[in-house]
Amino acid sequence: MSAGNARPVLQLHIPEPICRPGDPVDFSKLQIPPAGTVKQPASDTPASELRDYAYSLIRVLDDEHEAVGDWNPKLSPERLRSGLRHMLLTRVYDERMVKQQRIGKTSFYIKSTGEEAVAVAQSYALAPDDMLFPSYRQQGLLIARDWSLVDMMCQIFSNTQDRIKGRQLPVMYSVPEVGFFSISGNLGTQFPQAVGWAMASAYSGDHRIAASWVGDGTTAEADFHYALTFAAVYRAPVILNVVNNQWAISTFQGMAGGEQTTFAARAVGYSLPGLRVDGNDFLAVYAATKWAAERARNNLGATVIELYTYRAAPHSTSDDPSAYRPADEAKSWPLGDPIERLKQHLIKRGEWSEAQHAALEKELDDQVKAALKEAERHGTLSTPPDSPESMFEDVFKEMPPHLQRQLEEFRALEGED
């Protein structure tokens, strides 16, 4: 019965990315199908007939910047220019905020550079009252919903106008007004919460759906599995997005299972549709999201979308990627840059020009600068905060006696100065 000592010697496999600092960048193993080759199914197609989508890549913009194929959402030039503007604004905002961190006006920042199409195009494909459960890298959602930059900056600065009272790390926005859920520091927790919110919407006979985002690395967390399980079981009207930007801090996506298969494929295991999309293609992202939203709205349940993109920026201002990946990897990313690609598409269609683009850049830069000026009037992290007592509020709706006692202790201490 036993193979005895004839059994082979076992070996532990540790995944490793193709290139590390010093190696030549090599993306030749990526399989990137040409734009337009993936057919669009009806949005009520049974999941069992959609399995192949998890292994293909939905792309609309081709190498000549034309929009091609079934998934082309045929958006108007106005809408595209608006999308371009929101993506560019996100990028300009990010750049400016990183600078604030560098000069000590805030403690921390996270950019979304190279991933702007994800947040902006997905926001466009949803209704304004659909509920968003983002990770820390979808600031573009707020920007696409035209939320106040000043308000966002006040959170970054933990200043007197910070709506969350200086309690959270910068970028952990919370904006009920535009359906943008409070960002958690704990990865992935928002995923089952989005499913629960969607279940509650369905429970209530509402018509609003939910969407949530996690990174490639975060798919390994329990909450990812909970979300897909509950979404499948209760057919929750939710879109579950995996932003595969190839990296989780210093860890490449293979360490989350991306060496073996796609992240969209996870959906197959639960019989949810799993769409894999060129995340740097505004049109493809929009179209796939629209499809998933339609499916959810029609009580056909959840869709998982893998947004295939690249984290062009460091993980955060605490990170230096040159320690673990070739410095020029971002530049060689075969799917290019989302802003550049949409810009070229518009130019190709005669709806945009380099001059207009330069003007827009200037305009947005001014807009961000003006917002910054206003936000700074309310202080920055480096200016002393003025209401530390608020620290004791909102732990509970009403302050219980033990916190009242601690607040008094605190006051007595302050009084001693």
Binding site: F191, P192, G196, P400
Partner: protein, 337 residues
């Protein structure tokens, strides 16, 4: 008014709140068609439909995660964790999310959920059906923690918990589901139907969270207890002949410190009793508070009677359980010193 055991009282609380508020939704493992392994949700699916009371996948973290989202939407989810021992997979969603959401969003988002879970030993459940993990929740800021000791309180406190706008962990000491078990496991259990606190109004009423109850007045010593141990403490007091005041805390957070301090200031002696393991148990907090606020009144060290710092062993559960003998000894010791 009806005679109810604790299961029926809990069921009645759920029924009453579901009837009053369409936003109350119940789910958890086996709570739907079957009505829960301890039958606390029995009949609710039939009465309110499976939309309002349904089974969940076996994923405590998923149950809490989705409950948080439902609460954010505006519902009042009441979830059951089948045994308190199985709450750990849900720990992150409770501690990092439910507990902190109001704070981190400065009130922008909240999730008024209630977690019901049976706790405590004495039913030969072994180490994974006997735990009392309340102290790890009271250490977390943003959660309320409640443990009733009788049907009347269970119903009134559960209704208050469900209606509370903060997340509440509601522990149900399973050993007293059927009667006020006093620790004498070799004697027959008095059913709740024979106990005055088994008399429960059929309708709506609330017991405010954060108010303790003096269940026996006394002058010589103060006993602080909650859940099953209230009955054990009462038995030990009667058997000892000591004129002890016994306080049923009912809510651990918020805690009714005033009642405690008033009593210990009067008696000058204090014994704290719980079933959970000792080190860093809730008793440690009680001792700290009492010594801080009543230091100059104390005539003897505050005693702690607790489960031992070991898992709850199946065959030796009556050696593990802090029964009347152990409590009695601590009472005498507190009087002697």
């Amino acid at each position: 008014m009806s005679r109810m055991n604790m299961i029926q009282a809990i069921n009645s609380a759920l029924d009453v709140t579901m009837g009053r508020d369409e936003k109350v939704v119940i789910f958890g493992e086996d709570v739907g068609y079957f009505g829960g392994v301890f039958r606390c949700t029995s009949g609710l699916q039939k009465k309110y439909g499976k939309r309002r009371c349904f089974d969940a996948p076996i994923a405590e973290g998923g149950i809490l995660g989705t409950a948080v989202g439902m609460g954010v939407y505006g519902l009042r989810p009441v979830v059951e964790i089948q045994f308190a021992d199985y709450i750990y997979p849900a720990f992150d969603q409770l501690v990092s999310e439910a507990a902190r959401l109001r704070y981190r969003s400065a009130g922008g988002f909240t999730s008024p959920l209630t977690v019901r879970t049976p706790c405590g030993g004495g039913i030969f459940g072994g180490q994974t059906h006997s735990q009392s993990p309340e102290a790890i929740f009271t250490h977390v800021c943003g959660l309320k923690t409640v443990m009733p000791s009788n049907p009347y309180d269970a119903k009134g406190l559960l209704i208050a918990a469900i209606e509370d706008d903060d997340p509440v962990v509601f522990f149900e000491p399973k050993r007293i589901y059927n009667g006020p078990f006093d620790g004498h496991h070799d004697q027959p259990l008095t059913p709740w139907s024979k106990h005055e606190l088994g008399e429960v109004p059929d309708d709506y009423y609330r017991i405010e969270l954060g108010k303790a109850k003096i269940v026996r007045e006394g002058q010589a010593l103060t006993v602080l207890a909650y859940g099953t141990m209230v009955h054990v403490a009462l038995a030990a007091v009667e058997e000892s002949g000591i004129d002890a005041e016994v306080i049923d805390l009912r809510s651990l957070l918020p805690l009714d410190l005033d009642t405690i301090v008033a009593s210990v200031s009067k008696t000058g002696r204090c014994v704290v009793v719980h079933e959970a393991t000792r080190t860093c148990g809730y008793g440690a907090e009680l001792v700290s508070l009492v010594q801080e606020h009543c230091f100059y009144y104390l005539k003897s060290p505050i005693g702690r009677v607790t489960g031992w710092d070991t898992p709850y062993p199946h065959a030796f559960e009556w050696d593990y359980f802090p029964g009347p003998k152990r409590v009695g000894k601590a009472l005498r010791k507190a009087m002697e010193d």
